[in-house]
Symmetry: C2
Subunit: 351 residues, 2 copies
């Protein structure tokens, strides 16, 4: 494992899922910060806001009225980045001016009728309903679209414009950059090493325990060896699973429980509703459902922006945008901090 | 060129410098915004602040006293992400747990003794001094290091922690991800098409004018066909130039002038000191100085975060992090808006 000398000095680590490197400079945590601080989280979100278009019974921008939903609720995004039709620019193009048709669908999915809850404080049966709905959307949209991206932007810091607990589902007629990069890396790994990349990785992390944050019999949440965001985590099944649609009911229960544990740790880190972007990656769908996709392993990425406190974030700016991502504490240090936090949510801990 | 139907519908565009695609969804500009708004820019920055470690004559964190500098001033970053020494983790590694040594130097460069100026309002001779110093640093650090990244994070929104006009220079013992990706793309382009990618691109953009923001006899600033940030620009020499160190004095004057023009347009867009991260990419240095690098063309990238106003930014979050970058107006629309702005800085425009 990583020796003390390495963890105290800057070094590069390889991300085998993206074929890139990250610069780890642990000693940078010592520098003072006089840059931008984020606003403190809004403390009070009302359970039902008559003006919030995501709440049950309210009217949305397009005039539609939400039903009085009691668990999850899915509707079409009123300002979709992807629409089912779109012209084909044709193929007679200069190599420097290439465009392609992009078609798809954008949906919004509310997790719960109440605005003042998050997945971390929802009851396990309610989280299972979210997972069931994810799997259902994967079946529906994945029957035709090659990629269905489920993602959650949580918190104003992550561009989320509505405090109501929700995620988005964007289905596309193409494999997005990150999907095709991950596909290529996992495909080559299986070819060269005879085992799916993330299946082997999960086994080795489970054995070492050094970067494990929480675990149960079916799942593992680790700060990956190649994490770029300070408290980034990777959620992995222990069994070889290609897609969300392949999970057994037991695995869905285990997933609900490990998500709640992980998100509770996150909230406990700075005693706040922890912002992040998260999303699922699994084997491509649509026409790819008929192909051999055994190099794939289902997983979720959590990318939280905070670094030192609820108001000081990691900026991925100049050097990161133009050269290479850089992190200020080691993944092992981050895993240790998360692991050491209480299992109970700070809002419900005894005073 | 791009027909109206395409510019009104979502489509994908290819970035030949990164071998990736961007999703362009022009119609998304119509959506309402109720998410995070940024703080208004601090209006008053004092010309000299006795507590600012970047001002002339002041004492820095490590106890060193800055000279009474009169143009540019370079010093070692007191909290460097890269240091000249560092252990070598060795090569006996599992493919999923690979690390490498990272060595380098981090410098900070002040542009001017006054805290209340930016490149957009500095006089041309003073901007030339900045360019000369950049070239000098490229010679010094580039004599041994394979990559020297000059970059500027401007504005609190871009993680800049000090309002004093400055940039950073990080030299590394390795080619960072973005550098090696760009190297590969430019190398393959020359091999397949017989002309350096960005030389051909500059010619075609100069001819079409559709995405040109400002230009002079030696330089061109365009919103690239594949821009991801709303008002992203690419600064290109018209002649084949490998590195900043190869610029003639006339080209340096032309560069100072086009930078001032471009940054004035930027400030005029929302009547504020426009935030961005920018940086230079040129042929690798150190051991690569002896190699044929004719596939390279020197260029600067400007990545500004703002979308609709001085307080509403584009968030590159969930879908962008997990799937693919997405933009809400076409590069042609962005170029047109910038082009149509006055040439004179709003601060000095007649009332
Ligand atoms: O070095 P600075 O200005 O303190 O820090 C800023 O720029 C660095 C290089 O892009 C980033 O790694 C930091 O996250 C950012 O806050
Ligand atoms: O769709 P929303 O939540 O309005 O928008 C948010 O998520 C999108 C997908 O990641 C991003 O493109 C937007 O920049 C962000 O503000």
């Amino acid at each position: 494992d990583v020796c003390v000398c390495v963890s105290e000095h800057q070094h590069l680590r390889y991300n085998p899922l993206r074929d890139t490197w990250v610069l780890v400079s642990a000693h940078r945590m010592k520098r003072p910060w006089s840059g931008q601080v984020e606003k403190e989280e809004e403390l009070h979100v009302p359970r039902h806001d008559p003006n919030n278009p995501l709440c049950p019974g309210n009217t949305r921008a397009n005039g539609e009225v939400n039903p009085d939903y009691e668990s999850t609720f899915v509707f079409e995004n009123d300002f979709p980045a992807l629409q089912p039709d779109g012209p084909d620019p044709g193929s007679d193009q200069h190599p420097l001016f290439q465009s392609k048709a992009a078609r798809g669908l954008c949906k919004v999915m509310c997790f719960h009728p109440w605005s003042d809850v998050t997945l971390s404080v929802m009851a396990i049966p309610d989280i299972i309903k979210v997972i069931d709905k994810w799997a259902e959307l994967m079946v529906d949209l994945g029957s035709t679209y090659p990629w269905v991206q489920i993602f959650e932007n949580k918190g104003a810091m992550m561009g989320c414009s509505n405090p109501h607990p929700h995620c988005q589902v964007w289905a596309s007629s193409f494999l997005p950059n990150e999907a095709s990069l991950s596909d290529r890396c996992q495909r080559e790994y299986l070819k060269n090493h005879g085992e799916p990349l993330l299946l082997q990785y999960a086994k080795m992390e489970a054995e070492s325990q050094e970067r494990v944050v929480v675990q149960n019999s079916d799942w593992l949440a680790v700060v990956p060896y190649w994490a770029t965001w300070p408290f980034q985590t990777l959620l992995l099944p222990r069994r070889h699973v290609l897609r969300l649609t392949d999970l057994t009911s037991q695995e869905k229960e285990g997933l609900a429980s490990i998500m709640k544990q992980l998100l509770t740790k996150y909230d406990n880190l700075f005693h706040m509703s922890f912002p992040y972007s998260m999303g699922w990656h699994g084997a491509p769908t649509g026409p790819h459902l008929q192909e051999d996709q055994s190099h794939w392993q289902l997983h979720a990425h959590y990318y939280p922006p905070l670094l030192r406190s609820g108001t000081i974030r990691k900026f991925m700016v100049g050097y990161e945008m133009l050269a290479q991502e850089q992190r200020d504490l080691t993944p092992e240090q981050a895993a240790q901090r998360l692991r050491d936090l209480p299992e109970e949510h700070y809002k419900t801990q005894a005073m």
